[in-house]
Amino acid sequence: MSDQAPLVLGIETSCDETAAAVVAPGRDVLSSVVASQADVHARFGGVVPELAGRAHLELLVPVIAEALERAGADGHPPVAAVAVTSGPGLMGSLLVGLSHAKALSMAWAVPFVGVNHLEGHLFASLLDHPDLEWPLVVLLVSGGHTMLVLVEGLGRYRLLGQTLDDAAGEAFDKVARFLGLGYPGGPAVDRVAAGGDPTAFAFPRAMAAQGYDFSFSGLKTAVVRAVEREPLASTPDVAASFQEAVVDVLVAKARRAVAATGSRGLCLAGGVAANSLLRARVEAACAEDGVAALVPSRAMCTDNAAMIAAAGQWRLAHGGPSPLDLGADPNLGLALSQATVKQ
């Protein structure tokens, strides 16, 4: 190993994906293995925390072994550092990855670093687009988060706005469950909406014209009321109209944030960034506005460990390793300062 570049092993278990990856310097992804528990949770219509923790326990060792093998990391120790998600996420799930990472770090006598899952998502786009130009606006949309972040450089984030109630992905999951489309809700709505009329229902676009904060709770309620009013309404039409409303608001605000901050581009991150309509609309809007559209591959949008390894690599270089008594924090924030950007 001594003549090789130092490798970082990334571990991610914050929600329902068990993932491990090996990244070489320069954010060169040598391997990225993701075992999804979506099948396990599908019949419950959402993540079941206890099942999630147990499945991580069963999957983590083989997933790490496969990531190391695919990367050809067979030295002693196989990697130079271990990076792991320490929050936010589900407590039980986070603890499985965190404890395992600490154990590996001690066994291999290599540094260990805790990574903020949100920062990981910001790094995911770097893996697909190595030569980013700052500043950038990142629209981070997932099951647990919806935020607009101004990235002025690596590690320099300013929160422009966030959801005041439900996350966009949560709205997708709950509407999908209500419509009987199954779990995970994002891909299910995406699929069904493709055959529907997005103008069939005029669902509300909450706060679309003002500020950078989001609200999706009322939209979910509007969908429920619409279906109660018209029980025979076409499900594809409802799904398409709902999706149209979510994407309209996300893109309108993101676009406005890019203009107001003089950003060079708009970057998508998080699980909802895998949505076909959102991807197409962001690309079209950026083309029209003459800024770069940074739309990561679907594999990089959803939870993975390559982004954790990449963020960990940067954190190690700029802040050093984490103490071994680092705890899991289910509500960890991005340590963002409120931006004062004209609305």
Partner: protein
């Protein structure tokens, strides 16, 4: 003996539901457990936002569905130090409710508002204030019927106090059930 009392009120829109929650927040004290019950879109989010704001929570009270529990400091709410907002929507086993450590948080001076709380009632203790929100009605889709009921020793003598705090939403015809 501790029976169960209940009173019902009607709110005409989301703003009224928010005001109702804020009024109810005036009677809770450290250690109180409030179970919030209602289907998707019933108005639980609006209720939680009004309730949290009245307890002095700064910033948005956002959905706890993803993390299961969110905690907020209450700098100006008397003996209430912490507002704990939990959501049992994703829990599948009653024993998982124990993992949320709600009794411990209540003992430390918190007020807990638990969404889909009826599901966890069997393991959350004998005393609770239950708030059931039922949407719709002849007056229109924004109307809500909110039923507040107290059970267990902790709430046995507090009907008068609750009715007084909610005075603007009355008059009430309280019901009693012996248990």
């Amino acid at each position: 003996m501790s029976g169960r009392w209940a009173l019902s009120a009607r709110t005409d829109d989301a703003a009224a539901t928010r005001a109702f929650a804020a009024a109810l927040a005036q009677v809770v004290r450290a250690g109180d457990l409030v179970l919030l019950v209602g289907g998707l879109g019933a108005g639980k989010t609006v209720f939680a936002q009004g309730f949290g704001a009245a307890l002095g929570v700064e910033g948005p009270v956002t959905s706890p569905t993803f993390t299961l529990v969110r905690q907020y400091r209450c700098p100006a709410a008397g003996d209430v130090e912490l507002f704990v907002h939990a959501d049992l929507y994703r829990l599948d086993h009653l024993r998982e409710v124990g993992d949320l450590a709600l009794p411990e948080l209540l003992a430390e001076g918190a007020v807990a508002l638990v969404e889909w709380g009826d599901a966890g009632a069997p393991v959350l203790g004998a005393s609770a204030l239950e708030v059931v929100i039922a949407p719709g009605g002849p007056e229109g889709p924004d109307t809500r019927t909110i039923t507040v009921s107290g059970r267990g020793p902790r709430w046995a003598g507090r009907l008068g106090q609750v009715a007084a705090a909610l005075e603007g939403f009355g008059p009430f015809e309280p019901e009693y059930t012996a248990t």
